[in-house]
């Protein structure tokens, strides 16, 4: 056992002298000069920014261009119309956003909307606006409860469970209504679908409130945190103690509640409601949510994006009509817009990969452990 202290430095090598401050500047010259803008660009997470705000920016740009290029777009009456039209898909989309963030989705919203709208109109005729609201929302909630139970308790994949419910509710609506449409034009009822407050349409105000409510649910409640947890990784959430089944059921109930509310607004707007209302509605809602930046894989999403996407779709339909675009061509344009907007991330990714010449992409485009579709069925295994 030597008492000699271990030498930390050999005598031959001297510890490096502290570099004077002036030499730091020479060090910097080894790094390529980047302007402030370039460095900001490098720092930002463009994917996240696009996901959160992309569609909002696109919508503003589209409004701008439309205001210049399309005669008749830039007037108050038209803005009112566009905002109002965005609300009917939008309110449902708020609920659907929560569902998709949770990693699932609901194909039965179209059929539910028809049923709830009919209920709203019929009850409004008999008992007034507030009972109609309660009834519509309640019916929506019940359907949501059924969906949730099927998915979380019986463990049927959400796609099929809600597809089945869609057929069921559709048929039920026809049976209850005997195929007839209910009509009601009471002023206090239709006010909710058609009136404006200071040139802002009521349905849009309701839509924004719902979006705020939805965002609050997602960001400020425990339920919201559970939703994000389940959407990101269901098994991990389960192990961590999240009551997955209960949250799942509640998610579907929320979807149903919002759909019921949107249905009442639609019934008020149309002064009527009946079976077969808006076939294809569910796909519109899902497209709106996904366009808004919430990806089907779940775990992340943007309520602002949903609002912007709803407005964007309504704007698109409006602008196409104002420009007298042929109805068949309109279908192509709407599909193209959807595809284009969703290709942005993929294109950006590929460009980034190409420029950085990475040989192995750390994020597989089709998803990590499972594909995006599989993520939807997280509740089922």
């Amino acid at each position: 056992m030597s008492r000699r202290k271990p030498r930390l430095t050999t005598p031959k090598t001297q510890p490096k002298a502290q570099k004077p401050l002036s030499t730091l500047q020479t060090e910097k010259s080894e790094i390529p000069e980047l302007s402030v803008t370039a460095r900001i660009v490098n720092q930002l997470d463009w994917d996240l920014l696009w996901e959160r705000f992309g569609i909002a920016v696109v919508t503003i740009v589209v409004w701008f261009i439309a205001g210049l290029a399309t005669p008749g777009f830039a007037n108050v009456g038209n803005f009112v119309s566009v905002l109002r039209q965005s609300a009917f898909v939008g309110v449902s989309a708020v609920g659907m956003t929560i569902a998709i963030i949770a990693g699932t989705f609901d194909l039965s919203v179209g059929a539910t909307q028809a049923l709830c709208a009919w209920v709203a109109v019929s009850v409004a005729k008999m008992a007034g606006v507030f009972p109609a609201f309660l009834a519509a929302v309640a019916v929506g909630g019940v359907v949501g409860l059924c969906n949730g139970s099927l998915v979380a308790l019986v463990r049927i994949p959400a796609f099929i469970a809600t597809l089945g419910t869609m057929f069921l509710v559709n048929g039920l609506t026809y049976i209850i209504t005997n195929g007839q449409t209910a009509r009601f034009s009471g002023k206090s009822f239709v006010w909710w679908g058609n009136a404006q407050i200071m040139s802002v349409p009521i349905p849009f105000i309701v839509f924004l409130s719902c979006a705020l409510l939805g965002a609050a649910m997602l960001h400020r409640t425990e339920f919201g945190r559970f939703v994000y947890a389940i959407g990101s990784n269901r098994e991990a959430a389960n192990i961590a103690g999240v009551p997955v089944a209960k949250v799942a059921i509640f998610v579907f109930v929320v979807v149903g509640l919002f759909t019921g509310l949107g249905a009442m607004l639609l019934g008020a707007r149309l002064y009527s409601a009946g079976p077969g209302l808006e076939p294809g509605f569910e796909l519109n809602v899902i497209a709106t949510v996904v366009l808004g930046g919430t990806r089907l894989a779940g775990g992340r999403g943007s309520m602002l994006g949903t609002v912007a996407a709803a407005i964007l779709f309504a704007t698109l339909a409006n602008v196409l009509n104002l420009n007298h675009v042929d109805a068949f061509v309109q279908r192509v344009v709407v599909g193209l817009v959807l595809l284009l907007a969703l290709s942005v991330e993929g294109v950006r990714q590929r460009l980034a990969e190409y420029w950085s010449r990475r040989t192995v992409s750390t994020r597989h485009p089709l998803g990590g452990r499972r594909s995006a579709v599989a993520a939807i069925d997280e509740f089922t295994d």
């Binding site: 005669p71 008749g72 007037n75 119309s81 195929g179 449409t181 009509r183 707007r269 077969g276 009509n321």
Partner: protein, 320 residues
């Protein structure tokens, strides 16, 4: 940064002001707006053609919106059209029950509302040009009766295939048909829905022929389904005139061709092109403030006759 945002903001405001000013320029020619049920169907293509030609002949500007079989689109697109400033509205509504907000909006702008077929939804329109769907069904029933009476086989069985369940006004065709045919002593062995689709008409007819090989006649709510049915009958080794008498509705071109080729018995003709022209004339009168002559003053209806088209008439119609 504040300086750039200020410049941006003022640029934005300037642009908006210019755009608004541009938009408020007055319009000289009168504009007729036509809102159509769904341009996917031949019937409405004909109606649109008639309306457009009449409007242009009368010297109006013409604008079209397609409701694409959606009541929500019907209301929003038509209201947008009204907002753009039209002098008269002609509408063939997908869901007449949802006409309320449209008529209210039109009334607010003092625009006359002319409804072209389907229904009026109980609203305060100015006039509706309507072909009697129910009477068309009755006509079909009576024609089938006259054809079958002169036949050897005594089968009293007929079938009725409806359009899609949400088309409640087209459903009246089958209602009228079934009521009248039962009065005439026949049995309606099947009432099924073909969802207005041609391939469904085919499939459902095949099933009906399977269940009731001795069915003598089939009435279908629209011509695409009827043509499908004619093919189904042919595929079963029978003929759509001699064995199972097929009657459609609309007098679409494909049905006329099928009738001429002897594959189908008859169709009930509505006259969409003439109805389109009629609506433009009525709109002109309303814009001038003239009083209209109604067929039925209660509901401000003007009836358009429906005609039975059999082989003889089909030939002439096709040549047009």
């Amino acid at each position: 940064m504040p300086r750039t945002s200020f410049t941006l903001l003022s640029a934005l405001t300037a642009v908006m002001v210019i755009a608004l000013a541009h938009n408020s320029a007055a319009q000289a020619k009168k504009k007729i707006g036509f809102s159509v049920y769904d341009m996917q169907y031949g019937f409405f293509q004909e109606m649109e053609k008639g309306t457009r030609e009449a409007a242009q002949a009368a010297g109006y500007d013409y604008v079209l919106v397609d409701q694409k079989s959606s009541e929500s689109t019907m209301v929003s697109a038509t209201q947008d059209m009204i907002n753009q400033g039209i002098s008269a509205l002609i509408i063939s509504p997908f869901k007449p029950d949802a006409l309320g907000p449209i008529v209210d909006a039109a009334k607010e702008k003092k625009i006359p509302v002319v409804i072209d077929d389907i229904g009026g939804g109980g609203t305060d329109y100015d006039v509706i040009v309507i072909s009697d769907n129910e009477k068309g069904g009755v006509l079909a029933a009576e024609h089938i009766d006259s054809v079958l009476k002169s036949r050897q086989n005594n089968s009293k069985k007929v079938a009725s295939i409806t359009c899609e369940p949400s088309a409640v006004y087209a459903a009246r065709r089958n209602v009228g048909f079934e009521k009248r045919i039962k009065e005439l002593g026949y049995e309606v062995v099947a009432t099924l829905s073909g969802h207005s689709k041609q391939e469904e008409g085919y499939r459902v007819t095949k099933d009906i022929l399977s269940a009731h090989p001795d069915v003598a006649a089939i009435f279908l709510g629209n011509d695409p389904m009827a043509v499908g049915a004619a093919q189904a009958v042919a595929d079963s080794g029978k003929n759509g005139v001699k064995d199972v008498y097929i009657v459609g509705f609309n007098a679409d071109e494909i049905a006329l061709q099928a009738i001429k080729a002897g594959q189908m018995g008859a169709t009930i003709q509505q006259v969409p092109r003439e109805m389109g022209k009629m609506t433009v004339d009525l709109a002109t009168k309303l814009m001038k403030g003239e009083k209209l002559q109604y067929s039925s003053t209660d509901n401000r209806e003007i009836y358009v006759p429906v005609n039975l088209i059999t082989a003889q008439e089909a030939d002439t119609l096709l040549k047009k």
